[in-house]
Structures are given as structure tokens and as C-alpha cells.
Point group: C2
DNA sequence: GCAAAAGTGTTTCGGATACACCCATGC
DNA sequence: GCATGGGTGTATCCGAAACACTTTTGC
């Protein structure tokens, strides 16, 4: 990064809001692929665009980088402004830099993966200006820009991160049942696990602690609730594992779903073909699920 | 990424080389953390800066993004221009976006991890304009900008990638001995493995194929040479596993090392403190070393 | 001969797998 | 009652770990 001449922004030229450079520069934006978990399926938070390119289409929340912030601060700010979410897990994921990816011109996008707890789901409803809605990750509408590609690659990356870090807790409330934890692993890895083996693996790994918290209501036998074991988890994860002032357990009620009819889009972007819907899902071994512990203990 | 007004670059304003935008934009660069392996240690390729900020200091090769290329193309181009390397493994790693990270102004850096085979080591010598030298990854000189931080985080990331992808082959020639493969895993993970267990794990995983190629020379008993098993490896890795026109086996001779005296830098940035140099390295289990196979078979 | 690295095999042990029964709740 | 999900236990088996001797080269 050093072959060109040093460039100083020769600010306020003649008119206001004119920034002059000796070499062309791209706009830089951050876009967030926001994953959620509703107790049974992986969800994605999208916003309806209110601006000109792709107006009315669904898109990833995001916005342009400002000179006084890092790209992480930018992502967190846009998340707050557009979806009212704060204190969510955020991780850089990939830069998209195809010169033609944005019809407005030369715009790079830093894609982030964001993970939202169920207790934060309804925060979005509080922001009246918001046009954000949760979609099932397998049933997405057509997306603006190259966002469909970004989402697909983010889902693949999510599997990788799940091996490297205990991010499953960032998709769960402070208190959760082992069934929920298992389901998170299942929907991300797109498989199923033997309930008894999974339970034992989790407990022997020591990544959870049983609590005395009682579930508020349950359709069946009420599960025991656990929480993440902070002693074993990376310190920088801890902030994202739970909030402080949330109810101990809410059973995924009153979700804000996408009520719109987006069938008018001609090209559907469902990832799962209909024919294979009833194919029996092969059960996977639980081996290696918590490999991330190896990264901490060295 | 969409809340601002669309901005068109209002090119050639009055004078040539003047680019005017309504909002400030950062310069975007790509910097490469280039890893090599000399048969016993992890190496890092650095260049001596010939320009003004940090002139004479060592730095990561890199350069500014141009409007007609992706960030990957930029990284590959700068690598070629500054170190004469081509067809190396390149992977996005992290964006560094601290507004103050570059004294010249607002410069983002997309950091890449690059992996170089021993057969490409001496390519660098062919480029007379090059000021590139290989350093031991544990004995680095002070670096320009925030490059020391980038290198440290890249080494951590390298461990993660090693779990996710068969990148060890990208640090080896087309033909290699199992001892070399083991050493790559050892220097990256900073541990040792039982030779017999490692050998068996590799062969049972099926990621290598024995060949009839004979090593050119050996100080001890000559090892059998293997090559990566393409049937089991991801297709997009294949291009980076070996070159076509290289000698079948060269035993790491005549390396281009850094001959300079950089002791004049007052602050040393060695990562390993001297006191712990002789501490016995604990042997690690080979379990999970080739977990990346799980990502391909699904 | 000797040092250094390469090649090979067996025993053992732990942990993952496969599998079945009972429990608590809402309806 | 009964459907649904939660909790617990065991026999088995595979694979990883631990470990030693021989072989081949350069010097």
C-alpha cells in the first residue's frame, strides 16, 4: 500500500460538499447479513429499499463508511439506524469489490455477519420507521445488488465460524434449553443429531452450565435451562452471549414476520428445490462440533 | 449500503487527475501477508519501503485499488509487481479501517493471506527491482503502519484456515515428503506431533497419494514423495496446489534471506521471548487435523 | 561407525455411536 | 388418553494415542 503519491483530501473546493482527489476512490459501504433463530429455523433480516436503485426491493441493511469511524463502527451504526438492533455479534466476512456490482458507480461493500438473539427480535418493531422483516433463510425474496450472492456465501461462512467459535450462543437468549442449542447447530449445518449424544457431548465439553431458571411456559415437558459457561468461552465472545435485562425465557411468540406479498417477483430465490423436500435428513455424528475449544486452550 | 445519494465520479474536472465527489471517500489498498515454508520454519516475505512514509522500513507488499479491478485482482497484481510472484494462494483476511492507521490520510487496507511454495521462493531473486526478503515469522523487524498487528492477526487466522481448508499443500511443492507436511502443520499450530500417528492419520484420510518420484538428494534416508490427492480436495484449491513446470523436488537450498542489518531499529518485534526458548514443546494429538474434509463431503 | 531422518506395527484406551425406556406437560 | 418433546443410561466399537525397532543415507 504505498506506491502511489500521498493523497491529501483537498477539502471544501469551491462549493460545499466537494471532495477532490488526485486518484479515483471508491465509495465504501458495509452490509450486514443478519441471522436469527426462531426456535426452529434460521432467519434473515432484510429491509425494503426506499431509495432509487432497486427501489422497493429487499436488501441487506447497510450504509456508507464515514471518515471518522472504522468499518465495524459503520456496520454497528447502520444496524442501529436501520433495524434498531444494538449489541449484536458482528464479524467481518468478505469484501465485495466487483467494479460493476453497484449501478451507482464504484462501491465496495464490506459484508458482515450479524447474529441476533430471540430476545432482540421484537426490538425492530419498536422502530416505526423501520421497514425490516424477518424471512426464513431458505425462502428469500429476490434481493437488490449482489446481495443474494452475499447471503449465500455468508451461510457457508456461518458453518465455518460455528466450528471456530461458540457463536451458537449468540443466536440464543441468556437461558436456553439443550434442544434449542441442538436445533441451532442443526439448522446451520443443515443436518440432524442424535438428541442423547448431542446432549452428552455438550455437557462433557463443559460449555454450558445448568441453571435453576424455570421456563415460563411450555407445550410439553418443560426443559431445563442452561447458560453459556463463561470460563471456557473466549472473553471477546462474552459480550455477545446475552443481554442483561431480558426476560429469562420467552418461547418465541409474536414474531415480527414479513407480511408482504413478494410473489410479484418473477424469479424466486429459494435455495431448496421442492422435489427434495421430503428426503430423509441423514443424521450426523456430533464429533468435532465443539472443536473451537482447541483454539482457546493453546 | 444505500442511504446516501448516488454519486457519479465527475471525472476530469478542470485539471487532469482530479476526481471530485460529493462525499469523502477513502483510498483502498490491499496488503499481502505472504507466508512461506523453508522446510523447518514459517517465513514471511517483506519489502523495504522506498517511499516517504516509513521510508526504509519493512512493510507488507501492497498497493492501491484501481477502478477496473476487484480487490483480489489488486492483491494479485501488487504481488506480481513487487515480488514477481504469481499463481499463489490468496485469501481475503480482514479489513483494517482505523481512520488514523495511515499518516497519509484515510486509507483502508484489505489484508490478504498469501501462501508461497518453496519452488517459488527464488522467483523473487529474478526481479532486480525487488527489495523483497524472507524473514523468519518469529523474528520480524519493526514494520511500517499497523502491519505488525496485521501480521499477528494473520498468523492466528492461518491456524483457522488450516482447519477449514487443505492449505498446507499450498506451502509445499508438488511433491513432498510426509515429514515436510507434518512440519507445516507443526509450525503453523506451534506444536509437535507423533510422527507415526501423523503419518497414519494423513494416509487414512486419503488426502495424499504416494508417487514414484525420487528425491534429488538427501542428507539422511531419502523419503518417499507424495502429492495431494485431487479427488478429495476442493476444486478451487487445485490451482494453488502446485505449478506445472517445477523440478520434482528441491531440498530447500540457496534461499534468498534478508541480508540487511535491521538491528538499528530500537524496538524489536520478536514474538517469542527468549526465556521460554528451551521449554519442551508439548506434543499434540493429531485428532481433527483434517477436519476440512467434512466441508467437502456435504 | 555414527548421527539423523524415514518407514513400519501393535496394544491399549477413551470417546463416540447406536439404541430404549421413562417423564412431564398441554390438549 | 395421547401426542410431543425432555431426561437418562448402557453396550459396543472404532479410532486415536502411546510406544520401539529397523532401515537408509551422508559424513
Amino acid at each position: 500500500m504505498n506506491n502511489q503519491q500521498p493523497e491529501q483530501p483537498k477539502q471544501p473546493d469551491t462549493k460545499p460538499n466537494r471532495y477532490v482527489y488526485r486518484y479515483p476512490r471508491p465509495s465504501v459501504a458495509s452490509d450486514c447479513v443478519i441471522f436469527g433463530f426462531d426456535g426452529s429455523a434460521l432467519k434473515l433480516l432484510l429491509i425494503e429499499r426506499g431509495q432509487k436503485p432497486f427501489l422497493g426491493a429487499w436488501a441487506l441493511p447497510g450504509g456508507f463508511l464515514r471518515p471518522d469511524e472504522t468499518i465495524e463502527e459503520c456496520a454497528a451504526r447502520e444496524l442501529r439506524e436501520e433495524t434498531n438492533l444494538r449489541n449484536v455479534y458482528l464479524e467481518q466476512f468478505k469484501v465485495y469489490s466487483d467494479p460493476d456490482r453497484d449501478p451507482r458507480g464504484w462501491v465496495l461493500s464490506m459484508a458482515f455477519i450479524a447474529l441476533v438473539r430471540p430476545s432482540d427480535y421484537n426490538v425492530i418493531a419498536g422502530d416505526d420507521a423501520s421497514k425490516a422483516f424477518w424471512f426464513k433463510a431458505d425462502e428469500l425474496p429476490p434481493l437488490a445488488f449482489d446481495h443474494h450472492r452475499i447471503v449465500c456465501e455468508a451461510r457457508e461462512r456461518l458453518k465455518e465460524i460455528l466450528v471456530l467459535k461458540p457463536i451458537a450462543f449468540s443466536l440464543l437468549n441468556k437461558y436456553f434449553s439443550l434442544g434449542e442449542l441442538q436445533k441451532v447447530y442443526e439448522v446451520i449445518n443443515d443436518t440432524t443429531y442424535d438428541r442423547r449424544n448431542f446432549t452428552r457431548s455438550v455437557q462433557e465439553a463443559g460449555i454450558v452450565e445448568a441453571t435453576d431458571v424455570k421456563p415460563q411456559k411450555a407445550r410439553n415437558r418443560p426443559p431445563r435451562l442452561y447458560r453459556a459457561n463463561h470460563n471456557l468461552l473466549a472473553p471477546d465472545m462474552e459480550d455477545f452471549i446475552y443481554d442483561s435485562d431480558i426476560p429469562p425465557y420467552d418461547q418465541y411468540v409474536e414474531r415480527v414476520e414479513a407480511p408482504r406479498d413478494w410473489s410479484l417477483f418473477n424469479e424466486s430465490q429459494k435455495t431448496e428445490p421442492e422435489e427434495l423436500k421430503d428426503a430423509p435428513i441423514k443424521e450426523s455424528p456430533t464429533k468435532g462440533l465443539f472443536n473451537f475449544l482447541g483454539f482457546f486452550n493453546k
